[in-house]
Amino acid sequence: MAMKPVTFTLNAEAKAAFTEDGQNLLDFLRRGVGDLSPKYGCGQGTCGACTVLVDGEPHLSCLVLAEAIQGRRVETTAGLGQARPNPLQEAFMERFAAQCGYCTPGMLMSAKALLDRNPRPSREEVIEAIAGNLCRCTGYEPIIAAILDVAEGRIRA
């Protein structure tokens, strides 16, 4: 089984690790690099639990070939709020926007991608931004409210 070196940036830190041929980015991050924050959900690009940012854009890491991130910038939920929760995480806690929490890393990254690009989205834009993420527990409204709390300045750093 071939192994290839991949150098990339993970949460602003330079990383180098080996990937197996055909390994997807999710498996590479979890097993290869030790970042367990993206979750395996469906493995077929449907649930969004594995959402990470690649060069600032939301990606389903289960559908990204790991070697395709050579030289690119990857962000995961592990990179949020190192010392204490960041505003999005704070808002999710305040709004009880998680229950089992399985979708939460994916939701946070989709929300971060939106807010990084559009700091004051409308409710419709928030809904569109998380359209690729499934949630079993919350019925989405608390998640939408949490993201809007950050957008509208009710939760700030």
Partner: protein
Amino acid sequence: MAVMVETHPTLGDVQRALGSDGTYLGGGTLVMREVNAGALQGRILRTTDPALRQIRSSFDTAEIGAGVTMAMILAERDLAHLHPVARAVGGPQVRVMATVGGNLFAAHPYGDFAVALLALGARVVSVGGAQRPIDDFLRERDRAGLVATVQVPRPREPRAFAFLKVSRVKPKGVSVLSIAAHLPRDAGRLRGVRIAFGAMGTTPIRAPAAERVLEGATPDLGVLARAAAAAVEGLDPPTDALASAWYRREVAGVHLRRLLERML
């Protein structure tokens, strides 16, 4: 995983290296799913060729690289008529990966973007430069080589082109069916009518009977109703987990009429 990945600098290199046992990886939304499931073995070939991600616009045509993603289409102001189509292909995470080229090869019920290209009468340019009308390409795609670019005629006016997707999860779920219609007008009459359906055949497919009703007609509610009634003549929609053939046949005309009425 019994998979071997090769990365080549250009699409031409990939075409030469493909052989009978290779699978081309474009964006990855369909191929990586197969890899994850262990259903795909052997060689996977990909390229970092920047030419595949270029969009060149002229007055009447856009030339779109096969590696252009739906997100890139949405970021291109000159392609505003294609934005509703690109937005319907999956959620934000899929749109950054789903490519124009991948849509051309996607099996039922995927490939909504190809439905729009079919209605617009796009030309498909293979590696090596051969051009083919998209109708011919879709018929032969199992034997076609890799696609380099797609040349997409631009509708002369915004209301001449429209797209509609029917899905259980709106707007980004898998298609029960999709419809694209291009109705150019000339002195009040429809000329060069093209209507394409997705998920109504094994590939995107035109609706020839409906086109015949509309061609040369002055559009009014009566003509639209007759076109809708003819919508599924000659078509043989599949049954799958999303919808039965019967259901697709029953609702296709209804949705076509609604789409056409929006275009009046």
